[in-house]
Amino acid sequence: MKNDQNGRKVLLEVRDVKQYFPVKKTKLREKQRYVRANDGITLEIYEGETLGLVGESGCGKSTLGRTILQLYPQTHGDIIYHKDGQAIDLKQQNAEQMRVLRKDLQLIFQDPYSSLNPRMTVGQIIGEGLTSHGIFKKNDPAMKEYIFQVMEECGLATYMFNRYPHQFSGGQRQRIGIARSLALRPRFVVCDEAVSALDVSIQSQILNLLSDLKAKAGLTYLFITHDLSVVKYISDRIAVMYLGNLVELADAEELFSDTLHPYTEALLSAIPTTEEDGGRERILLEGDIPSPVNPPEGCKFHTRCRYCQEKCKHEVPEWRELSDGHWVACHFPLHENNVPTGEVIG
């Protein structure tokens, strides 16, 4: 098994992953254009950690989660999954091999309303994956027992077994989605905005549930969200995405205390607090997020960056590790006192 320099076990390596979606042509002889949802993403996910992934709507967070799980035909790059000392390149797997691997790699969907098949009972929804992966045989009485156990773990009453999704509230449906993915005893779960559709009170219940399950089963999460207070609460490390690229990646504490990228700075300043705003300055980003079909040249963030310099408009900043485990893609990373340095470090 591959370890990094701190001895943490690497579970997944994402190397220069690109995911493009073709744009429908409007003219006959038009050149094919693409939405660059992920435009060269490199990161490692360690076993047993929760990696938070934040960014604006439409920046490609969910796409990255789904690309890692091979739910889209991947455009470019490698995704290496480490299992029992073997390095498995997910892109190279055929459909059947990938299907078998899905037992380990699971997904909790954003929308608890559309992600459950309305024609199936809760029991069928949870049980289907179990029979498909041969964990239980069809009509095995032990399977029902096991499903009851999983439902209870996820805070669902067992009498709900024969009910259909439309008979549940949003929070209960989200629990069904969680129970479904966790019933397979996966190693890695992508939580794609798993709580953002829910009430705040239910959000915290679900977050606690996810942390409990992680502690019990040693799960690894990729936690995708646009809610910074949630991500701070649950994550070990946080990655920040902008327009299809990672701009900063660091331990959760460090990202908040030693912000290096101007975009992260602006995002963090937008977290609402209950304290009276003494010294903290709210940084407003001007303009809209540019189109991922025609992203700006150079640093993609330069159109909205308040520290933008001439170099940013032409040169793409390199994704580099500035200090131990703290990655950033910026020509002029911020100091701790939040002024631009004006010089390139590293």
Binding site: F109, S114, S115, L116, P118, T121, E128
Partner: protein, 330 residues
């Protein structure tokens, strides 16, 4: 609410609707111009003395119950209808029930065969094109189906007659059976099937065109849903994802359109029956209207009413089977 009670409610409801429609139809036909007695007696007036004709006329008038009030006439009529006495056909000079049997059998046969062909081809084809959306195969089928359902059926009929009865004469152009045919049951079956080939193909072509496109559109909608991604993420086999998860969800609108289409088939085959001289209900209805043979027309109208109502009940039952949500709601 249980499934049984739901069905009973629906049945009570359609019985109610049936009687309302029957009242409307009866009075509409009653208010049409024309003397049913004279129509029934027909040409006999020329060969009889006027007073003898008048006596015959009065007798028939009483026999048909035309002296009674309209409301009573209605109850007599509906009572007869429900006990299988559909009246007397002035055109064939026989009871309607004797006349209507063979055409009904012919129509049912033709429709049932083309229906089976349509569903057997269009549902798998629709699913296959939806799964390969925008591929070469899909685009090819898209073109074929749009041609199939845009062409009027009589044009397809003429083209096929030209191709398979004139240029390459492998099928007969009209009728149900070869003239002067004799043989055992199986030979008769083969001969009928041979005669049915062209009309059944014509009826299937337009049906396949529209239903394939419909199935494809529904499947594409469903395949876009998140729960299909969930099913794939679970690690199910692609076959299970498509046939169990996607197709079952696409079924509801397909059931709706298929039922409506089946009901329409019985009335809509008039054109095809005329082109191929297929002695079915469509031809009979047209003849009956032309000849003012109201017993036949009224009987057939009631048949279509029952067919439409039965279609609705079948649709309801089908919904409860394909959609668990329907079972618990009103």
């Amino acid at each position: 609410m249980g499934k049984g009670r739901y069905l009973v409610r629906r049945l009570v409801y359609i019985v109610f609707v049936f009687f309302i429609i029957s009242i409307l139809m009866f009075f509409i036909y009653k208010s049409m111009p024309g003397d049913p007695v004279r129509m029934m007696l027909g040409d006999v007036s020329q060969s009889m003395k006027p007073d003898a004709y008048q006596a015959l006329y009065d007798r028939t008038y009483l026999q048909l119950g035309l002296d009674k009030p309209l409301v009573v006439q209605y109850f007599i009529w509906i009572g007869n209808m429900l006990t299988g006495n559909f009246g007397y056909s002035t055109q064939y000079k026989r009871d309607v029930i004797e006349v209507i049997g063979t055409p009904m059998l012919n129509t049912l046969m033709l429709n049932a065969v083309s229906m089976l062909v349509v569903f057997a081809i269009s549902i798998p084809l629709g699913i296959a094109t939806a799964v390969r959306k925008n591929g070469v195969f899909d685009k090819f089928i898209q073109v074929i189906t749009i041609v199939g359902y845009s062409l009027p059926s009589f044009i397809i009929a003429l083209l096929l007659i030209f191709a398979f009865a004139v240029k390459i004469p492998i099928f007969p152009i009209s009728g149900v059976r070869s003239p002067g045919f004799s043989g055992n049951g199986f030979e008769m079956f083969l001969d009928t099937a041979w005669h049915m080939a062209l009309p059944a193909i014509v009826m299937s072509i337009s049906g396949i065109g529209s239903i394939t496109r419909y199935v494809r559109a529904e499947m594409i909608d469903v395949l876009r849903m998140d729960y299909i991604k969930t099913a794939r993420a679970k690690g199910l086999k692609e076959k299970t994802v498509i046939y169990v998860h996607a197709f079952r969800n696409a079924l509801i609108p397909i059931v709706t359109i298929a039922t409506a289409w089946v009901v329409a088939l019985f009335g809509g085959s008039v054109v095809i029956e005329s082109v191929f001289l297929w002695p079915g209900l469509g031809k009979m209805l047209i003849d009956g209207l032309m000849q003012r043979d109201f017993s036949i027309v009224l009987t057939m109208q009631m048949f279509y009413v029952i067919l439409a109502l039965a279609g609705n009940v079948i649709m309801d039952i089908a919904y409860t089977i394909v959609d668990p949500r329907v079972r618990l709601e009103n």
